[in-house]
Subunit: 214 residues, 2 copies
DNA sequence: TAGATTGTTAATCGATTAACAATC
DNA sequence: TAGATTGTTAATCGATTAACAATC
């Protein structure tokens, strides 16, 4: 039995989870100043949020602060990373090496979030065999065997929309448990598969409405 | 005075706005079947949402349906597009022609959302002067004059994080009113500037938590 | 007509905000 | 000590869900 150094993490609402990476970003930058402690007031100001909300959000990770002192930056960073599973490395595969896929393959920041793309796949034979940012592009025919062999659980879907559904089925049947979906297609998948839709039109819609309300 | 053919659009909550593009996607696909009307039950099933919520969401655009018949697909499409400002074309500029910037320059779907990227800018002189997917890459030195001359109001920020703040100031001083921010930096901007953060780590965090709760 | 579907009003649920006690 | 900050409990606010009337 382990000795718990801090309370267990709670569930946390979706809005809370979405704010945590921003806190982490602020903390990592703050860390470079050499300060050991930080107050929620400071974090709240940097992100234009309410300090009570920041405190409540942070509490879901199980971390605690000290009155008058604030929170240990180091502890906060580790606590958020653990809560998001970013303290350990997860392997992922990417399918669809178009413009967006290529961009994601070169996105170094994923490493900081514990995500390692171990292989990319594409149906276009002219790019199969290449290596993009050190990641090999393999043929779709080797998808199932490779994913099973490496026991990859995360799939990044960057194929053209018409292929989205078919490829998603392929991911699931190869044992992928979480799909990061960059297509604009609403995937119909069995229970037990986590999907995160990253359709750009969502963000554009919000921006357009914000602009209309200025 | 114009004769209103439908009630005025309401404000609409953020979650509602975020769901509208998905409705539009379903509608555009449904349109190709040739059916003229669609029920909220149908839309709800396609997106795994509640039909009452779909109806409430659609009502913010001012559109109305007919009992027993449903909604006119054509009317719905136009109503959502009008609500999001996607019925007219808005010009935008993109700053930072790295991997992600290049991917966005090639993203044809923006046209369907009324967004036209008229110019890209980069500090790297080796790529300045090129044309990517028909969009010219111009030097940063011409940024201010070009944006003012073309009266561009939307800026897409795809520069490396360390440059984010400085470039954002440049956008604002050139008259940009809305910033689509793909960096992980929380921009501090004056009132009256709309910002939409599109940091990928937010989505990754949600996916990771979903995976942990399977 | 009967039944399917819309649209509105009320109830519930959940997240944010406010108030305040605890404490270093 | 006094004051700044945490952390919890209560109040408010807003979004979702339920109930039901309206109607083609």
């Amino acid at each position: 039995m382990s000795t718990p150094t801090q309370p267990a993490a709670k569930t946390g609402s979706l809005p809370t989870i979405r704010r945590l990476p921003a806190y982490l970003q602020v903390l990592l930058e703050y860390q470079s100043t050499g300060m050991e402690n930080i107050s929620t007031t400071h974090i709240a100001n940097a992100l234009e949020l309410d300090q009570v909300q920041v405190r409540k959000d942070l509490s879901v990770t199980g971390v605690t602060g000290r009155p008058r002192i604030g929170y240990s930056v180091q502890q906060l960073v580790e606590s958020i990373q653990r809560y998001l599973g970013w303290n350990m490395t997860s392997d992922a595969v990417l399918v669809g090496v178009g413009h967006l896929g290529t961009a994601l393959l070169g996105y170094r920041a994923f490493e900081k979030h514990g995500l390692r793309i171990v292989a990319a796949f594409d149906g276009d034979e002219t790019i199969v065999g290449r290596s993009i940012h050190g990641i090999p592009v393999l043929p779709m025919s080797s998808f199932d065997a490779t994913v099973r062999r490496l026991e990859v659980k995360i799939g990044i879907l960057t194929v053209p929309s018409p292929a989205a559904h078919e490829v998603a089925q392929l991911l699931v049947s190869a044992g992928i448990k979480g799909i990061w979906n960059f297509t604009s297609v609403a995937l119909q998948l069995p229970k037990g598969i986590a999907v995160q839709n990253e359709d750009l039109s969502t963000g554009l819609a919000v921006l357009c409405r914000k602009l209309m309300n200025l």
